[in-house]
Amino acid sequence: MLLVRPFWWLRLNGGLAYNVAGFGYRGGITLSPADWAVSPTLNIDAGQYLSGDLNKFVTVNDSNPAFVGAVRTLLSKTTYKFATAQVGLEFGSQRRFVFYVRGGLTYFESSLSGAEITAVAQSKNPDPNNTYNFRGDTKFSGILPCASLGFNLFVY
């Protein structure tokens, strides 16, 4: 993650994002209106994960192998966009090194393939005379609390 400070109170950051399940990119701004040993900050970030396989973390238990297979296929492509607003405190020198604690809210939005959701629903369909069709993608979204810990090392 690269960070630049066009003004002492404004920082811009951007770079690669990694969430254990996959990779993406992210960027953000931080307002830090004080240069104290403990400084308050306001942080806005946004990004997108372009890959992600949740099967690393989720085990699907069901007696129906078609359902398990369909859900695993769905979970293997977990991509999403996000935007985060956080307030935080930074401890240390704004000229050299700070450790930060932040908390706030994050909005996420993911699009699940209509064909793959159809396969999940169809696998649970007991009647051969029924046919499911999820014509468009299914939107999965939400606003959740978030927190972050980290540090910044200022080299210039």
């Binding site: 809210l105 209509g114 959701i117 005379n129 029924n130 939400g142 959740l144």
Partner: protein, 194 residues
């Protein structure tokens, strides 16, 4: 006291937290006769449309995740709605004729398999309907206008199915026929936190 107010203020945004799954365009199609056979007699004056001798036909949605009014997931409760936007009846075989002599047709949710929804006090709910005077003459298919009913309350939480009935007026296709009944639905499942 001041600290309590400050903490409350900081926690206030958390009460707007949610996670939501939505798809406005889901179709579930059901074959009336259960195969390629034509179980519906031809040139029949329409009323209560019996399917294979039964007043209702059953659509089994299957044991799908989230297909119940509310589901507990950890500390949150997921509330689900499944709104019927419209329905359709598609004739399976053109040789059976067409639906041009059908004057009206309604798709109803029936409380039991033996209910006749035309009877007074039958407690049926109209889900979607077609009126030739309003919608124009039908041919191989009939499009029924939805009434915006939430189907989730009609789906049994144990059998995962619902009883549906067709009530019509006019005359059916000239030859024996079979059709697919489709329902166009919008799904929304939302969990609010905390």
């Amino acid at each position: 006291m001041r600290n309590l107010k400050a903490i409350s203020l900081l926690l206030l945004p958390l009460f707007g937290c949610f996670a939501q799954l939505e798809n406005p365009d889901i179709a579930l199609s059901h074959n009336l006769c259960g195969g390629t056979a034509n179980c519906m007699p031809g040139a029949l004056p329409l009323g209560l449309m019996q399917i294979s001798g039964q007043n209702t036909f059953t659509v089994d949605f299957g044991d799908q995740p989230l297909l119940q009014p509310s589901t507990a997931v950890g500390p949150a409760t997921v509330n689900t709605s499944l709104i019927l936007g419209g329905a359709g009846i598609q004739l399976q075989n053109a040789a059976s004729g067409d639906f041009s002599q059908v004057a009206t047709i309604s798709l109803l949710a029936a409380p039991s398999a033996t209910t006749d929804c035309s009877a007074t006090g039958s407690n049926c709910t109209v889900l979607a309907d077609y009126d030739r005077a309003r919608d124009g003459a039908a041919n191989q298919s009939i499009t029924l206008r939805g009434r915006g009913v939430d189907l989730i309350t009609f789906i049994s939480s144990t059998s995962h199915s619902m009883n549906l009935q067709l009530q019509a007026s006019g005359t059916g296709p000239s030859g024996a026929w079979n059709a697919d009944v489709s329902m166009d639905m919008g799904l929304k499942a939302r969990a609010n936190f905390p």
